[in-house]
Amino acid sequence: MTHSGTVSRAGRIASVPEKISITLRVNDKAVKLQVAPWTTLLDALRDHLDLTGTKKGCDHGQCGACTVLVDGRRINSCLTLAVMKEGAEIITIEGLARDGVLHPLQQAFIDQDAFQCGYCTSGQICSGVGLIAEGKARTPNEIRELMSGNICRCGAYPNIVAAILQAMERS
């Protein structure tokens, strides 16, 4: 992507910085990669590791489509740099199923019909897994509030809440 600012502000730094070598643990596997300092974790996952299940919606922290779990906590991967996560344990939507069996929340999304176009879904599911681990939401109102960081343009919200309730009951 070219940026007008890149051109106007050329000369800001003496030379284009070198790529940095980092190791991440992604979905239980250690991966080594070379990234530019400004590569977001989202771009590292999608463009360097071909893990395209994690979606880019807004790229500005405003939609939740890029939600992944870092050291067990849900975050927006578009607003962090890959280099900042050196050594971290990252789980994406591709890493939730175990031995070919879907994660209970993935299964619940199917059972409850909790998606339409599916674009927000991997973010919703990673966020829901994070929410269940936090243990702060019990009621539908509390789930809605703590899932507000995930926008669904198709409006599947009632079914998403039902799916999370189902997974919470069974876990």
Partner: protein
């Protein structure tokens, strides 16, 4: 994003040394504001100095009876910390009213204080903005200013500070601990953020070569009678149009001490000694609350689209004081305002 260098700070001394050698470098903590601004080409640091791994992550009681919060404590951890939930629930509620759980998991205590305004024009590099480009003009004064300030504005800038957490920290009279080349110092919360005046490019009195290391809370937490009410365009995951932090100490239904701070209306959390003094010795009734609201909003001025904020703030102050007096703080998940 534009290219920049990346380095990590090993400790606070190293962080200060690194920023001193490169004035166009910036610290990065949670990254939730800075990376966003770099993507919009509003910020263009030559280097990011990663301070997110510094060991400033504890929340501990102080010998003075308060609590010391490390600058890297994530917003979520702070909101759910037993010391904060139990003794400073106003702070916990204010934090949980802001952003989303994902963002709160990333955002740091120090970074939250230093987040920049959400003024539309500040983000839009095609338009003049004195905060982004000093001397270029203010597009908001005669522009779309629905989200802008009604108090403490200047002809140069009518931006608001967008933080929820800071509104509670202002009401609780926290202290900011900072360290720079000349050593450590503390800044009272009321003196931390600035009014725009004719230097709107400066949001705070932190020097560019200083780092926030901690926030200290005084012993008094007002955990019985408090409320944080946030009014916004949608029920969650949106910045405040107006927010109110109210904390009372009561003797029966007589007010012994009052703290009142507004968010979303000024370049800093807005307090008024006259408003708080007007509540002292009063009964907890709507007349006293309305009087305090009038004091707090004294001199408020709308710019067209944001005229509604004056009446909205007045009603919100009265409602929040009522909630605090009844010991029934605004719920985060039940959106009905009772």
């Amino acid at each position: 994003m534009i290219p920049f260098q990346y380095t990590r700070a090993n400790d606070v001394a190293d962080a200060i040394k690194q920023i001193a050698t490169d004035p166009s470098a910036k610290f990065i903590a949670g990254g939730t504001n800075l990376i966003d601004l770099i993507k919009y080409d509003v910020e263009a640091p030559s280097r990011l100095i990663d301070i997110s791994h510094l060991p400033l992550r504890s929340v501990e009681p102080t010998s003075a009876g308060g609590v010391l919060i490390g600058a890297m404590v994530p917003n979520t951890d702070l909101a759910y910390h037993p010391l904060i939930e139990g003794r400073y629930p106003l702070l916990a509620r204010a934090i949980l009213s802001g952003a989303s759980q994902q963002l709160r998991n990333m955002a740091s205590t120090g970074g939250n204080l230093l987040q920049r305004t959400r003024c539309f024009y500040y983000y839009d590099t095609a338009t003049p903005c004195n905060k982004r480009e000093p001397g270029s003009g203010c597009s908001a004064i005669d522009g779309v200013n629905r989200i802008n300030a009604i108090l403490g504005t200047s002809e140069a800038c009518i931006a608001t500070h967008p933080s929820d957490m800071c509104v509670a920290l202002a009401a609780l009279e926290a202290t900011v601990h900072v360290t720079g080349p000349a050593g450590a110092r503390t800044i009272a919360f009321a003196d931390f953020h600035r009014l725009p005046g004719n230097t709107p490019q400066r949001d705070t009195n932190l020097e560019p070569d200083e780092i926030i290391t901690a926030i200290e809370l005084p012993p008094k937490g007002f955990s019985e009678n408090y409320s944080y009410l946030k009014i916004r365009d949608r029920l969650s995951y949106a910045f405040a149009l107006v927010s109110v932090a109210a904390a009372l100490e009561l003797d029966g239904d007589t007010i012994k001490e009052a703290r009142l701070a507004l968010g979303g209306v000024a370049h800093k959390p807005w307090r008024s000694t006259a408003a708080e003094a007007a509540l002292l010795g009063q009964r907890t009734d709507a007349t006293a609350f309305a009087k305090a609201a009038d004091w707090l909003l004294h001199g408020a001025k709308g710019y067209g689209h944001n005229d509604f904020k004056i009446g909205l703030a007045r009603r919100a102050i009265i409602r929040t004081l009522g909630q605090a007096a009844r010991g029934k703080p605004q719920s985060i998940s039940d959106k009905k305002i009772r």
